[in-house]
Amino acid sequence: MGESDRLTRMAFTRTAGRLGLLSCHLCNSLTESAPGAYEGRCSRCGSHLRFRKPDSITRTWALLIAGYLLFIPANLLPIMHTNSLFGAQSDTILSGVVYLWTSGSWHLAVIVFIASILVPSAKLVTLTFLVVSVQRRSTWDPLQRTNMYRILESVGRWSMLDIFVVAMLVALVHLQTLATIRAGAGAVAFGAVVVVTMLAAMAFDPRLIWDPRWTRHE
């Protein structure tokens, strides 16, 4: 390996932030920051750039706490009220899963359980773990933690499933002689959980996971 090769290799095990370069989230180009400045404008597309997402940890915490609080009514309040010839019935998310299971559609019960209960709770717990690890400047397996972040960011949207199910049921079984279905207050709380946890994942900056590696090695 030639000397110039070795030098470029060294130069490229650096992060943009360490070299004072702001990377654009929109057009991928790099802009040199003014000395001492924390933010700047992209030289190619003019986007407002910062080295890291602003107040990432504080904002993620705020949205996470909101998510935890909303998770309680989302699971306890009924998401759906059914009025039929056989009487009135209120369903929470969990009782909806149980109903699917006992009525023989076990595969759907599994899908709804994963999307509505497993994904939101796993998302809250995993994101909490990630924020705490970043705050403690942990250097434990950053690749593993980045993968966790990727998974929670990509599966989050699927939790909207139950909201859409309720919306379709309400529209179809509406002013029917056989039954009427109405959306319950739990649906509002549940929708809010999905939105808030998506915002929390967006507020978190995965680059923070990798940052302590440099400061520790110096």
């Binding site: 986007s47 759907l108 709804v112 980045t146 990727r150 529209a171 179809l172 029917q176 002689t177 680059r207």
Partner: protein, 200 residues
Amino acid sequence: MVTLPVIACHECDLLQRKIALPPQGRARCRRCRAILYRDYPPGPDRALACTIAALVLFLIANAYPIVGLEVQGNRETASLYDAVHTLWVEGREDVALLVGFTAMLTPAIEISLLIYLLLPLKFNRVTEGTVPILRFLQTVRPWSMTEVFLLGILVALVKLEHLARVEAGIALWAFGSLIPLLIIASMSFDPEELWAKVTG
């Protein structure tokens, strides 16, 4: 500043040299395995074709009923608009807004803005306001949930099967074919090509 053939990873900030990719290849970050950039088919043709097809399907998906329900000889159908409308009328405005926003408005914005960008590109022109539109598309994209909505319809259908005879409407098929088209469109749209044109 000139654009260097260097890229910083969005997920771990590591600087890396850009290299030429084989057709349909993807470059991944050396450290965190994030996808840095892809190889796209040249020109906006494929992306434009898929987006226009997606627009037609989206209109069908919204204009026609998604499912029909038959109870004691009464036939009731529901479209996406009916779902939003019923929720609104029954006092669940918040849920109605959430469904309308994620299943109707956001996909509509996404598709129409893509056409607005791609069509002039086909004739080698760059549309006014390209940069703010790209910025807006990036913000809006995570909230476009057509594929989750489709799964929601299917779950609702199975739940109703015990109550009444259900039949799939035209819109269900339209939603089903809309999703792969949107995926192909976003995978063949090269933002770098647009950036090169914007900066002249």
